[in-house]
Symmetry: C2
């Protein structure tokens, strides 16, 4: 493989000059720059990023921390982040925190040890010391924070819309699944739905789900119908939970949507693949990932951003687990 010395020899200039061209540090005459560029091209020279990162004290690595990539909502976020980062030649070091504080701290530490220049994290604790002490830019994704840059969906409004829609379509005995208590966006949606149901005076009940895992979704769905067999509308904590409720309802012979309406949250690709297709609240996950990447790049490259907190809109997607209205 060609070295920087080979490039310098080939171009007839000093190594320092080649370095100035590569790193864009200091004046180089245009003719010289062209000679160096030509030598780089001919020798197919690719500067060692580690050496460059020591020299410039900068790498092109970004740390991305998500709770669990096997939850189908997160790959969409990750793709959004990656695609945007790739456009600006940044690369991702990736980790799953499993919502475990200890694992999260460990990951952030190894990100720093590997000289990442920025971090995107879906943490449950944006105020943790781990983040406060970081000397590189951080953007929280799918999480709100007043003090730090963040990109998130309007969960509270999502919850409101879900409740408004299920009521407008005739449910009169609604069950809300309250998602995991430590997951802030889940609690925002729950509060939003609660708000509308309280106002409406319609009877409702709350069931608790402790995690977003597939296994837990199945268990929660079974419990829901054991406790509240007469419910005629379920606002699920996310789409996985909603698909599990749909499954259990069909297994029990309930007519969906005529006897029972179901609304999910997220709009993961699966929601339009099940039968009947799932009505849900759409979160623009891919776009959120892109926005977070864009925001981090802006902060890294300019030192600041015009808008540090980006709230993304949510919308109701009418499919076949809710009844039609005029």
């Amino acid at each position: 493989m060609a070295t920087i010395k080979d490039v310098a020899n080939h171009a007839g200039v000093s190594v320092a000059t080649v370095s100035r061209v590569i790193n864009d540090t200091g004046y180089v005459h245009e003719n010289t720059r062209q000679k160096v560029d030509e030598a780089i091209r001919q020798l197919n020279y690719s500067p060692n990023e580690v050496a460059r990162s020591l020299f410039k004290r900068k790498s092109k690595l970004i740390g991305l921390l998500l709770p669990d990539i096997t939850n189908p909502y997160f790959p969409e976020l990750a793709r959004g982040v990656e695609d945007r980062m790739q456009e600006s030649s940044y690369r991702l070091i990736f980790g799953n925190s499993d919502e475990d504080e200890h694992k999260e701290r460990d990951y952030i530490q190894t990100f720093v040890q590997n000289n990442v220049v920025g971090v995107i994290s879906s943490t449950n604790d944006p105020n943790a010391d781990t983040y406060m002490k970081l000397k590189i830019p951080v953007v929280f994704l799918d999480r709100t924070s007043n003090d730090m840059p963040s990109v998130y969906a309007d969960g509270r409004e999502g919850g409101r819309i879900a409740a408004q829609q299920i009521l407008a379509r005739g449910s009169r005995n609604v069950t809300i699944q309250q998602g995991p208590k430590h997951v802030r966006p889940a609690q925002d949606r729950y509060q939003g739905a609660l708000e509308i149901l309280e106002q409406s005076g319609t009877p409702y009940q709350v069931v608790q789900t402790s995690s977003f895992s597939y296994e837990q979704a199945g268990v929660s769905a079974k419990e829901l119908f054991q406790k509240y067999p007469d419910t005629d509308g379920v606002i699920a904590s996310n789409d996985i939970a909603a698909v599990a409720v749909l499954h259990e309802a069909l297994r029990l012979g309930r007519q969906v949507p005529d006897e029972l309406q179901i609304i999910g949250f997220d709009d993961i690709p699966l929601s339009s693949l099940v039968y009947p297709t799932l009505s849900t609240i759409h979160q623009p996950a891919y776009e959120m990932g892109r926005e977070a990447a864009g925001l981090l790049i802006e902060i890294m490259e300019n030192g600041y951003a015009l808008h540090n907190n980006i709230q993304m809109p949510v919308s109701f997607i009418q499919r076949d687990t809710t009844r039609k209205v005029d």
Copy 2:
């Protein structure tokens, strides 16, 4: 932040000694080692991985290249890789190739520029120059290669089992979905299924699917029933395709499994969440990820591996889209 000099001063030893302790290179007296460890702990010193990687000419970074993390089969592989790598303190740089040769080559190149010490790749072209020329260990995941280390499932046997099961359960007019032609594991399954159907003399037909995307799955399912409305058994190219076939069958009012049986491939978490639950061929995706990571670690640390090609078993998971047999 504390530097290596601070640690040396605090412990009353030279920087070279601290470096020997940190990098485990050369003899250090046990008492001295303890003093250094204590100083590191007290000062909360964290060695800069980039500097270490230059010093030792080694990083703890691994490149992981997958086709598309939003396909629900791949997050399971990725989790397996990550969990195993984490146990040995390796970190992942991650990229999606979108099965695009150019993107793939770019990623491998930036992996190398960032001094990764090994690569795990689910490529469609294990014989590509990109891999042949690499000077660091590579393991192919979910892909077969005779020349290079690889971890894969026995797709051909999976295809055979799917055909045997659907015939044993009474389908007499089978449709096989042939997955994307450039994806080797998809072709292996297809060949396996074909082999059994040929032997059996049962009438069958083949439909082509060009990608594993959600959109394509829906389109293919519709086409399948337009072309072959009388089919009584579908061997789908993967679980997403199978769920789309199930959806379309239910929409058309077909009784599943009484009039129509469906068998998927992969056993993604979703397959037990749909209703009726999907019978499928299980691939141990998470374990495959772990095995690939273990194999790469073995090669990186020992210079070779005892078994370079690890084939993982597949099995039939009987759920509710196939009829029961005694």
